[in-house]
Symmetry: D2
């Protein structure tokens, strides 16, 4: 095979479980999860990934799997990948890793995805007070287009992207995460109850061994036990990138990630066929398995050159995302305004979350005027900015 | 003049004060502010407007005018305009008013604008804790491009739009506004202090006669006194549209506004040469005077057909914005992620405002790496998604 | 007026004839036509212009004016404008003039245009064998949109541009033009008759005093007589730019013109609301009066640096056009293929003109399937790539 | 495999010759070439293809293969494919076949392409008088991007498309083609010699058994002998679509092809990573092998409904191409004007081919000002509208 063909560094077999894959997956951030492969600066390589739920959601009309889905296991990530320069020297803390997304798509034979709303009993979602029951819609992909048997009449070109891409934290950074999240868990209850009626969802989940998958670290070994109780969950975005869910991060985009450990050790996962402006249902996207074709560059000393820490330590940095030149173009689209007044008519003080919720509900209500049921609109609303009738 | 030339229904003389204009301006929402003109469905007409501060900010390098600017007077609006159909029947409550923005631009001889940050002593802004002093940057327009002598090296094509467009509220809707905002004023203090360290700005201002301008209603008359103490301020967006600040609402866009009073009585103002993704400084935009060329259509019964009230009354509705086909295109742009962790390193619970602030600061810090001072970056940051070197 | 307001260097009164304007117009290229104004490098200035026919075509449904229109007078140009640098030194032969189109639009009170097909008796056009009679359609402008009472159901956003922008030729370059065009006139007949049945239109018109307008040169003076018999017609594009008819040359574009005489002495005219991909009818565009807001830069020695002469002298150069960032976007559009086979079924050898004609006819026939008459489609076809139903 | 996965109807093994493929390829148009597979309306299927030269051009720096390439064999096509509706009834003459290109790309392991200029001794190309020697440049693909070791500093996102897609002609249509092309061969010499110095290339090649490949028809059988002497070459575009080389015909596009034989029997091939505005070198494109994911719809009676014959028979029709919503966007691009004056300074009468050649040469000369050699620019010029520095 010619040198320009992407080398498959993480192959995926969608018929196997996450822990049965040739390069075992992980669902936590921790410096001691060993890399599953090495890639070289300039090399084009291919990373395949399961969907965020690791294959637990079925291609069928029943939402039972969504209703009882185990939340301690998201998101299944491919990696970590250790990055070396052309002389074999790994990326070092303080460097920036520039990762270009040269191509992406579904896995052959697995060209489908799903949107869903969580059941209120199982965590719920942004609109749980309006849509408390688990629901699911399946989408089938036809190249750049997707359609759903559950939402007739809609077919649209997606802006496919990975929801998660991030480097491994150092021990020091991991401690910072765990401490500030624990502080919120312990001290946050009172304040958020008082200030916002929306805040009914569980707080950021702290490290838990339950559902923990750590790649090459064998389960129930002492190493596993130690890491599992320390490793950060993948739900919030953090200094390392992580669950950024940037809807435009598609073909031709470039991600600049801070390096905290030797080799960078970045992981990726949570592929989306398309995502709306925000996380309306389940996770605001059409979840899918898929592949990325990537290319890395190490920018030596890039953190100091391009980033400015915000917080008490030099580790309080941020990733940067450069959007690519290929996106579907639309002649016409609608914008819905939301105001900081909740559905009961009560005004809140400059509350962007309330206003966003109102805007989303306005969009859902508008679409429901065109013959869609309440079961259909929450899925659809996330796509409202890009739908077209076929 | 041919029938297709836009009729000037609100002319503006930028050398005159807001109350000296041929069609006197207003800066409050109230059903009893009389229309200054009538327009007919299908007719192309021109509305001119002062900048949001009514000409109080000077084309010079001093920020003294910003520091002491009177905030009770924003925003100066042109209108109200009463809309009739071709048989002379006015728009009625329950109708939708579809207003197309066929063209817009600066007023001849007044092709400039400004961005600014409020002084902390005078209300401050979103980043007041980082940029507490009043600052100002002047922008000169060269057709679609703007440049600033205060921010060398930046020149970019704007996406010009009116920040405010809205219909007059009915008495009933006005009461709803005043009650919910008063409730927040009275009961909101405790909660917002507890839950969010960002909430240091004054609450939504309730009706006040201070600075009040009511168009054709002569000042200090009994009518004026009554209306002035009831009329809603123009700062928040509400059910009537209002201060929506939608950055893409440029040439070719269409706004669908609910009608609450006979004739619709819509007003517009607060022109922006360009606005960022959110309101970072002063008001997140390059403020300017300007003109709109508009065309109205009355959609009879449109509120029931297209809108869904959210709240205890049928008046809790929303406008819809349809974006036009002409926007500057950019091959490359950057996205900055923000996380719900404040600058002290403390985590907040799913706080979109904290996360947005972090994203904005990340953008500011990034731009400051390229030779811009701290005085320059807050202005620039709002434009970061559209800047290019000249 | 502030320094950033565009200075009007060529004002137009559409009620006056071309020769009655404050700055008299011209319709020929010649080095000895005196400049009507000077502009300085970096200065923003405004040039107004009549339509290409100088106001002879009426805003009415009759095509009589088109049928008998005098062709010796097109195109009425505004200028020449002499360009100086900030030290007062004029552009010199060998320089490049970079002219930025910062803004453009119709003249206030004259917001309309026309398309037409020439009568076969009066020169005809590209499709004269299919549409031999003079026809006319009027278009009214509503900001970025145009519609025609003669082509119901079509309304579209234009990509407005000047059809002509060019510098004055030197005497040497003018001689080259006149000689090569005379050579074609004298020797071209035989060859073009043999090789192409399409070539039924008159050849490139050589200099003629008939209809000649030379700006400040008083008519029938000895100077006028001499220049009139030498000056080049404005119909072909040439080394100086001229009648380029580039449909994307709209707001934000930049034209790089070679300088052949002291001061550059550039002229512009022939404004189009919109033009198709090629010159199908009359001139393939919606003709209009209008204004440009321009800004010049002199690139000293730019001809040698950026251009490569092609031909026996260093004067055989070319302009370069840099397209701006603002164009209407369309989600969907059709492409029609043409083959080098004429309407009789006869094949021609790699004949791009035959193939283009077939593609245009295919487009016209397709549109006629949707209820438009044969009188309407030739106008429409030129716009086929940008039409949308309203 | 799920029903939504594309079925591979024409698999390609790039290590095998065109006649060794599982579904043997063909390089002529003829009604009697048997279909290699059937596809059903609505089904998503995958067609793989060799490059236009069938794998004869090597991934190396030598242009020897280009110099002596056999021209009687282009273009290797995959198909024909017979199209049935969901009831099993085939497409019928008079129908339109709507073929949607849902996805496309390179074949795994073969992610490279080439541009080349023909040697003057071997047919030459559009610029043979300027670039008489065979040259070649290899391009490697990195997802949406391509770069060439032979043209340093250039990397750009392609607009990948099939150069050829067409239906089988009926016997009657094939006769029309052969007669008009023979007529040109016999009678065309004199005229094209007189009228155009550019016309130095051989005429359209008439049917020839040399190099002929006819799919399932076994070579040197009587059937083969008969078909080979009748079958049309694939170089010109014709009524059936064919070699259209439309550079925007990428993901999401739709082709409407007339049906002339039972089943439609369409074929496709000649994949391009990217093509310029016209056929400058070899074939104006980066040639590659690749795959298409397609979906067909049969529009019964569509020819009469949407097409208008132009010529003496109802068969003189045309395909229609609907461009998709996904194309690379570019903020800035240059346009080069060409005039109908050849490189010797001689003027031609409204000759679009001369003007196009001048525009292309202007572009090549301009690019050569930035450090590229004459060997590099003809390849590059075809891409000039989309290049960017990396």
């Amino acid at each position: 095979m010619a040198p320009f063909s992407p080398r498959v560094v993480v192959p995926i077999d969608v018929k196997k479980k996450p822990w049965e894959q040739e390069k075992p997956l992980h669902n936590r951030w921790h410096p001691d999860i060993p890399p599953v492969a090495e890639v070289m600066e300039g090399e084009l390589f291919r990373v395949e990934m399961l969907d965020c739920n690791g294959g637990r959601i079925g291609d069928n009309a029943s939402a039972e799997d969504i209703k009882f889905v185990e939340l301690s296991v998201v998101h299944y990530l491919s990696g970590p990948l250790r990055v070396l320069d052309t002389r074999g020297i790994p990326a070092k803390p303080g460097d920036l890793l520039a990762i270009e997304i040269c191509n992406l798509g579904p896995l052959p034979g697995d060209e489908w995805g799903y949107t869903a709303t969580f059941d209120r009993e199982n965590g719920g979602g942004f609109l749980t007070d309006h849509f408390p029951c688990a629901t699911k819609a399946i989408w089938y992909f036809e190249g750049i287009y997707a359609y759903s048997p559950h939402i007739p009449g809609v077919r649209f070109p997606g802006l496919t992207h990975p929801g998660i891409i991030g480097t491994a934290p150092s021990h020091e950074l991991l401690n910072i995460w765990n401490e500030r999240e624990k502080d919120l868990e312990v001290n946050g209850h009172e304040s958020f109850k008082l200030c916002d009626i929306l805040h009914t969802r569980p707080l950021a989940n702290l490290p838990t061994a339950k559902g923990c998958l750590l790649g090459k670290i064998e389960e129930r070994t002492p190493d596993w036990e130690k890491i599992a109780t320390e490793a950060a969950r993948t739900i919030p975005g953090r200094e390392n990138g992580g669950n950024c869910d940037i809807k435009n991060l598609s073909r031709g985009s470039k991600v600049y990630l801070p390096v905290f450990v030797d080799g960078g050790n970045f992981s990726t996962g949570d592929m989306h066929f398309s995502q709306g402006d925000g996380e309306v249902s389940f996770c605001g996207a059409i979840e899918m398995s898929g592949f990325l074709e990537l290319k890395c560059e190490i920018i030596r000393g890039g953190m100091q050159k391009y980033l400015t820490p915000m917080g008490p330590t030099p580790l309080h940095v941020n990733p940067i995302f450069e959007i690519g030149p290929v996106e579907p173009r639309f002649s016409e689209w609608l914008v819905f305004e939301g105001i900081s007044v909740d559905e009961s008519g009560k005004q809140h003080y400059l509350d962007a979350t309330v206003a966003y919720k109102r805007a989303v509900l306005n969009a859902i209500h508008y679409i429901s005027k065109f013959g869609y049921s309440k079961e259909q609109v929450p899925f659809q609303s996330l796509l409202a900015h890009i739908t077209q009738k076929r």
